[in-house]
Every structure is written in structure tokens, then in C-alpha cells.
Amino acid sequence: MAQMLQSEEVLFATESDVDDYNDQLPEIATEKYLIFSSDGLMYGIKAEQVKDIITDYTITYLPRVPDYVRGVINLRGQIIPVVDIRLRLGKPEQDNFCGIVVDVDGSMVGILVDMVEQMVDVPLDSILPVPTSTSQAMVSGMCTLHDGNTMLELDCGLLLHD
């Protein structure tokens, strides 16, 4: 079992990390995260929340909603609202049509991001709380990935409701 996990891990870890990573492998619970980038930052969403990754969907404009709600899309007959995370976080707008469909408390929402990066296993104990002083809203935790980047754990519930 440990052997299998190990080989799986290799897929997601850079080679230099492998050695010291192996030592802490056995007892630690991990959770899969989907990493994406938006405005130069790396964000992670729990993989179990992710229902779909969409590209090139026509977004239907919806009047009279905040500008970060870009509209709705037709995902196989389901009407799903699309939130632009750049605008939601007060960043400049950029044309990108790569989206992640997540399930937030039973309702599906599309999130527009710059680019979907990869899937990683994150040991749960490596996720650290966000210092309260930072103004990064909607982030419920952060963690350093093996490649040295910092992943911000996105709280989808907060993304929708303030």
C-alpha cells in the first residue's frame, strides 16, 4: 500500500522533493487539490468539490447582477452562473475562458480563472491558517507546495456569499 501511494506521489512531486517527502508519507492524511492560477497567484480548490473543467463556453450576459457575475452558461442543460474570480477579488479584468465548475452546498457555480495548473495531494497538516492581517478575502488557508509555490486555499462558500 505504501509502495503504491509512493509511486502516485511521484507524479505530483518534483524529483528533488521525493526523498524528504517519502519520510513523512505513511501516517499523514492528504487531500487532493486542484491548483489554478489567477493574476499571478496560485489557488487551490478541494478536488471533491470540482465537478468539471470547462473551456470555450459561451457566457450569456445577465443584467443587473454584480459585474463579477459574468453571466450564465448552459452546461449540459443545466444553467450555471459564472463568477470571474479576478473581478470578485478586485483585480483587473482579462479575457479568459478557462473555468472550473464547483459544487458549493449543492449548487453548481463556474469560476473563471487564468489557467488550470495541476492536481496535487496536500498533507492536511501543512495547510496553515491565514494571518488575519492579510486582506486576502475568501482564502481559508495556505500551504507551501513542493515546488516552492504557495497555494491559497479558496473557500468557495465565501466566494459566493460575503
Binding site: 450569456t60 450576459y61 443584467p63 443587473r64 442543460g77 444553467i79 452562473p81 449548487s107
Partner: protein, 695 residues
């Protein structure tokens, strides 16, 4: 129609029994009933009682009624009323009752006669009720009253076939019951005899001198009327006469205990024997009255409906719409450009036709007309008008209105309860009262369904006496629902009618009472996001209105475009579309725009401005005006282009989007068009209100 009612009944009862089984199992494990499950069982029994009475399955009705009585006590007094040592007995009895219901339903499905001897189970329930009631010091007065009511039909059922064959030469009998309280039973029997004579000449009757002896009337009313024939064939012929005869409530073939050739024994010894058991054991097919299907047709009674999880249907719809889109992507693929592919083109055409059909069929799966539910009410009105001795007619309006399956499921029970209430409490007790009030002696119940832009509206209206507000208020005060020294508006008083446990009728009848009805109505309608409102005018009748949002209804809409986005305006709110020249537009001091159409001025609302769109026509001459009207508002909506009429399926907007209050801007839903794009459905009234609040 008869079959579909039976199908519905079987399906509904089976579903309820399944539910009941689940509740019982959980309750037995917990060794007590929660308040919710007591209410649930009470409701299930109430429904089974009502629908069985409608189908004239009296054994089911009687048992359900007794169990309902029992749970009425439990509901009132709480579970503590059941002595500890009685609990296992209670559970046993309930499981037995479920099995009994199942058995009876199976008999109905197979076209077999229903059980006549339900005494053992009724006795069990009675003894349990006694035990429960023996516990508290003061037994509920109104609970014991229905108990007697209920046992009466049971007893009648058991003792009814006590009349025995009088002559051994005529062993094949028919036992006929006339409608209760129809009066002059002897003359009715005589008329029946006359019509039977058309089919076969040789038969005897009991009582035999009906046309001359009026005293036989009571015997017939009490015990039924018996006709005896020489052969089974003659008897079958005679049943044709029964079908045509008026006021025959029920008839069933009975055979003399002993087969026809009776060699040695004197007839006298034999004949008193066939008492209660006779019909049960030997009646070949005791048919449940007025619609005796031929034996071959009995198989038909099997359920032809299956229940499908709605989420599966949604899934199907989603896949189908993807197929349609993919199909057009394949057949219109740019790779095919410039190629001459005769066979491919032909097959592609066939494929398109098939996918279109597929889409139509799957769309129609969820949509059902309300007529099925409405038609059921015909039967209820008919039966109740006989039982209660009130003449009434049912008028159906808009019964072909199509609504989503979930809505039809949810409104069936509520409508039934309301119609029953109208018949029972709404219409005047006596026709003379109606005449005195200047009304047609025949009461009327109107059932109407219609679509507005965003809702299905169902109205149940009667022209009876209306609601006695004072009586309702007094009752509400007695029930502790209202306060003595508080002024209540008419609306508030009417709302008491829909509170749990409220009923203005102190007497419990087979059809209504106990106030279980209106709170069920409210609950079921609220489950699909709808509202119930009651209006009443003293002396003129009451109207109950169910307003249910269209979760997914098909609607005719006009597609228009504004700034590259598509919007749908419900066809029924469009008056016409028109192009106007800039000089026709009149400005008011507040810079509002108006246009004159046929001697009236109408305000112009620019969709582009209302919806804050970047693109879209500015010049009034480029675009087009849609003259719309809804309620008392009439105005012109300025849009870019008219795209055409289309039938659309209304989909609700995601809750997240609704949380921004887009409904207030007239955006009620959306619809997926054939090419997969989304169109936004506008609600004409809210567009007007929004425009007024902004500008």
C-alpha cells in the same frame, strides 16, 4: 378514463403503503411514534380512506377509517396515551393492517373480489382503541362519535348478504343495492325488474311484490334487493340491465350454497345456510360496482404507470439536448465544406429528424396536462353530491394547461381536499336555501387552471354560502389559535382555516372534517414553492387560489435581441410589435418617452437602459417596439430586433443569481434554445415596476 383513475389509485395507494411501512419499521425500532410519524400515518390513512371511498372499495375504506380514528386520539393526546404493554400489540396490528391493505390492493389489481369479512381486523383495532381510551379519565367526545359511524358500515357490510335464496330452482342470484337515501326503493326495484325482463323472462325476486307493497321499500333499503335466475347465463344477461339502471349503487352475483342439481335434501334445510360466508366463498366475481369490466379486461387494472426518479428525467433531458447540439456540430462540420456527399446528406437529414423527435418526446415526458387531476374531481363531485344529497355540477376550465410533473403530483391532493370542502361545507345544506338566496338550486364548483408569465394559477371556486367569518373566528379562539380581544382582518381569519388541526365542522364525515385537509393543502403547495390564498364573500361562495411558480413549464415566447443578448417575452402578454419614426416619440418633462397607439399614450421602456447593456440600438428608428400588457400595465419595450416565436421550456435561474434580486428587474427565468444558447425570460409586470423605480 376509468382505467386511468384506477391506475392512479393503485399507484398512489401503493406508494403510501410503502411510505407507511417505512414509518412503522423506524417506529418499532424506537418503540414509539414521533409526533411527525403520528401525523404522517394519520394523513396516509386519511388519504387511503378518501380515495378508497371514491373507488368504492369499502373494506379498505373502513379499516383505514378505524386506524385514522385511532391515530386521531394518539395525535390529540400524545403517544403516552398508549399503555406500555399495548405497544407491541399496536405495532403488530399496524403491520397486519398494511398487509391487509396490500392484499386488498393485489385483489383489485387482479380483478378479484375484495374481502367481505374484515371483522377480525376491525375488532382488533376497536379493542386497541378501547385500551387506549380506557387509559385516560375522559375519553375525547368527538373521537368516539366517528367510531360509531365507522363501525356501522362495517357491520352492514358483514350482515348484508343475510338474505338467502328462497327457491332452489333459481340458484343464481344478484344482490342489488340502491343509492343510500334514494327513496322509493320498491319502485326503483320494480323499474329494475322491468328492465331485466328485456333480457330474460324467467326469474324471481326477493322481496317479490315490490310494485304493490310499499313496505318492502325499507327491506330493500336495508338489505338490498335480490334477483334469482335459473342459469348463470341469464344472470349475466341481466347484469346489462343493472348497468343501465339508475341509482344502483352496487350489485354483486351471489350463488345459493349448493350447486344447482339438488338430489335428496329438501330445499328448506339448505336454504338458510348461505349466510355471510356465501358470497365470499362462492361469488365468482363480486365486481366493485358501476364499471364491471369484462373478465378479459381485468388484466388492464395492473399498473401501467411506473415512477421514475425526476433526476433521471433531468439527466435524460440534458443528454438529449447535448445530442441535438452535437448532431448539428457533426452535420455542419466545416470539414465537410465543398464535399459532395449525397449519402451522408441523406443520412444526416434522417438523423436530424430522429433527434428532433427524441427531443420532443423527452421534453414532453415531464409535462402533463392538469386534465388528469381535474377529471378525478368529476367523480368526487358526483359521489359527494349523491352522498350529501346536494346537487352540484363541476365546471372545468383550462384543463389542457400543461405543467411540470412535480406540480401535478403536488396539487392532486390539495385540489381533492378543496373540492371536498367546497362540496361539504361550501355549498348550502339545503337546496331551498340556495333558491331563497336567488341562486340556481344546482350548486357549481369551478376548477380553473391557467398560466401567467411566471406562475400556474389554479382556482377552485364554489357558489355556496361562503365562509362564516364569525364562526371561524370563534372556533379559532376555542382552539387557542386566536386571541379573544384582538381585531382580526378578514384575510387573517381566513388564514385560520389553513392552520393544522382546524376544522369548522364538528362532525367527522367520510369526506372531510378534522381540519386535516387545509393544512395538507398548504404543505403540499408550499413544497413546490407555491402559495394558497382563500377569498370569500358571505352568501356568494369562496375561492381558493393556488399560485405555483413555473419550475419547468413550456411556454410560447417571442425571442428578441438586445445588444447581442436574447430575451424571451411571453406571447400572451404581447399586444403587437411596431416600428416608429423618431418624430412619433413624445417626450415628457422628465425626459420620459411615450408613443401614441390608437388614441392612447404608452410609455417606452428601453431594455438597453433598464438592463445597463453596453451594446444595443440607441436610435428608436433602428430597433423595434414591443407593445406589451399585463395586469393593468401597458407599455412599449424597446428592443433591437425581433427574432421570432418559439416554444420554450422555462428553467429557473440558479439560486445564486436570484439572490441578487434580478426578479425585481423582470428577469424570471431562462430557457435553453435549440442551438444551446440561453435566452432570458422577462416578466412584463416586473419590468414595468423596475423601470418606474429607476427612472
Amino acid at each position: 378514463m376509468g382505467d386511468s383513475i384506477l391506475d392512479m389509485y393503485l399507484y398512489e395507494t401503493n406508494t403510501l403503503l410503502e411510505q407507511l411501512d417505512g414509518i412503522l419499521l423506524t417506529a418499532e425500532q424506537a418503540d414509539t411514534f414521533s409526533e411527525d410519524s403520528v401525523n404522517e400515518i394519520f394523513r396516509i390513512m386519511h388519504t387511503i380512506k378518501g380515495s378508497s371511498a371514491m373507488m368504492e372499495f369499502s373494506s379498505l375504506m373502513t379499516v383505514a377509517h378505524r386506524i385514522e380514528d385511532m391515530f386521531f386520539i394518539v395525535r390529540e393526546k400524545g403517544m403516552d396515551v398508549v399503555p406500555e404493554q399495548t405497544k407491541p400489540e399496536l405495532f403488530d396490528m399496524l403491520f397486519q393492517a398494511v398487509d391487509f391493505f396490500r392484499g386488498e390492493i393485489e385483489k383489485v389489481e387482479n380483478g378479484d373480489p375484495l374481502s367481505q369479512s374484515i371483522d377480525h381486523i376491525v375488532n382488533k383495532i376497536n379493542s386497541l382503541i378501547d385500551k387506549i381510551q380506557g387509559n385516560p379519565a375522559a375519553p375525547a367526545a368527538n373521537a368516539s362519535a366517528p367510531a360509531e359511524n365507522a363501525s356501522a358500515p362495517a357491520a352492514a357490510e358483514a350482515s348484508a348478504p343475510a338474505i338467502s335464496a328462497v327457491n332452489q330452482d333459481y340458484p343464481f342470484g344478484i344482490h342489488v343495492f340502491f343509492d343510500e337515501g334514494s327513496g322509493m326503493e320498491n319502485l326503483r326495484a320494480f323499474m329494475l325488474v322491468n328492465s331485466v325482463k328485456d333480457y330474460c323472462g324467467d326469474f324471481i325476486t326477493y322481496p317479490d311484490n315490490v310494485e304493490t307493497d310499499p313496505s318492502t321499500s325499507d327491506i330493500i333499503a336495508d338489505q338490498g334487493f335480490l334477483l334469482w335466475f335459473r342459469t348463470a347465463e341469464e344472470r349475466d344477461n341481466a347484469t346489462h340491465a343493472m348497468n343501465g339502471a339508475g341509482s344502483v349503487r352496487e350489485y354483486q352475483p351471489v350463488d345459493a350454497a349448493r350447486p344447482a342439481p339438488a338430489p335428496t335434501q329438501a330445499p328448506k334445510d339448505e336454504t338458510p345456510a348461505p349466510a355471510a360466508q356465501a358470497p365470499k366463498a362462492e361469488a365468482p366475481a363480486a365486481k366493485p360496482a358501476p364499471a364491471p369490466a369484462p373478465a378479459a379486461g381485468q388484466q388492464h387494472a395492473k399498473e401501467s404507470l411506473i415512477s421514475v426518479n425526476l433526476s433521471k428525467l433531468d439527466q435524460l433531458l440534458a443528454v438529449v439536448s447535448e445530442i441535438v447540439i452535437t448532431e448539428s456540430m457533426v452535420t455542419a462540420s466545416p470539414d465537410l465544406k465543398g464535399l459532395r456527399l449525397d449519402n451522408f446528406t441523406k443520412s444526416a437529414r434522417d438523423l436530424r429528424k430522429l433527434t428532433d423527435d427524441l427531443q420532443d418526446v423527452s421534453m414532453s415526458l415531464r409535462m402533463v396536462p392538469v386534465s388528469g387531476t381535474f377529471q378525478k374531481m368529476n367523480r368526487i363531485v358526483r359521489d359527494m353530491s349523491k352522498k350529501l344529497g346536494k346537487r352540484a355540477k363541476l365546471t372545468l376550465i383550462g384543463e389542457d394547461t400543461e405543467v411540470d410533473k412535480t406540480i401535478v403530483d403536488a396539487i392532486g391532493d390539495p385540489i381533492m381536499h378543496i373540492v371536498r370542502n367546497s362540496m361539504d361545507h361550501g355549498l348550502e345544506e339545503k337546496e331551498s336555501d340556495r333558491v331563497a338566496a336567488g341562486k340556481d338550486p344546482v350548486g357549481e364548483v369551478i376548477l380553473a387552471a391557467r398560466h401567467t408569465g411566471s406562475e400556474v394559477i389554479i382556482e377552485i371556486k364554489d357558489d355556496g354560502q361562503g365562509v362564516d367569518l364569525q364562526a371561524v373566528l370563534n372556533k379559532a379562539i376555542r382552539q387557542g389559535l386566536a386571541q379573544q380581544d384582538h381585531e382580526y382582518s378578514q384575510k387573517e381569519i381566513l388564514n385560520f382555516l389553513m392552520m393544522p388541526g382546524f376544522s369548522t365542522n364538528t362532525e367527522v364525515t367520510e369526506y372531510s372534517g378534522r381540519g386535516v385537509g387545509m393544512d395538507v393543502v398548504k404543505k403540499n403547495v408550499a413544497d413546490v414553492g407555491g402559495t394558497v390564498s382563500i377569498t370569500s364573500e358571505w352568501g356568494k361562495g369562496m375561492t381558493t387560489t393556488l399560485k405555483i411558480p413555473l419550475t419547468m413549464a413550456i411556454m410560447d415566447g417571442m425571442e428578441v435581441s438586445v445588444g447581442g443578448s436574447m430575451f424571451t417575452i411571453p406571447i400572451n402578454s404581447i399586444q403587437s410589435s411596431l416600428k416608429v419614426a423618431a418624430k412619433d416619440v413624445i417626450h415628457d418633462p422628465a425626459r420620459g418617452e411615450m408613443v401614441k397607439i390608437r388614441d392612447n399614450f404608452y410609455p417606452i421602456i428601453r431594455a438597453k437602459e433598464l438592463f445597463q447593456m453596453d451594446k444595443g440600438y440607441e436610435n428608436i428608428e433602428d430597433g423595434i417596439l414591443m407593445w406589451v400588457e399585463s395586469g393593468e400595465h401597458s407599455y412599449c419595450l424597446f428592443v433591437d430586433e425581433l427574432l421570432g416565436e418559439q416554444q420554450i421550456v422555462v428553467k429557473p435561474l440558479p439560486n445564486y443569481v436570484n439572490s441578487f434580486g434580478v426578479k425585481n428587474y423582470g428577469i424570471t427565468g431562462c430557457s435553453i434554445l435549440g442551438d444551446g444558447s440561453i435566452s432570458i425570460i422577462l416578466d412584463v409586470i416586473n419590468v414595468y415596476t423596475a423601470a418606474h423605480n429607476i427612472f
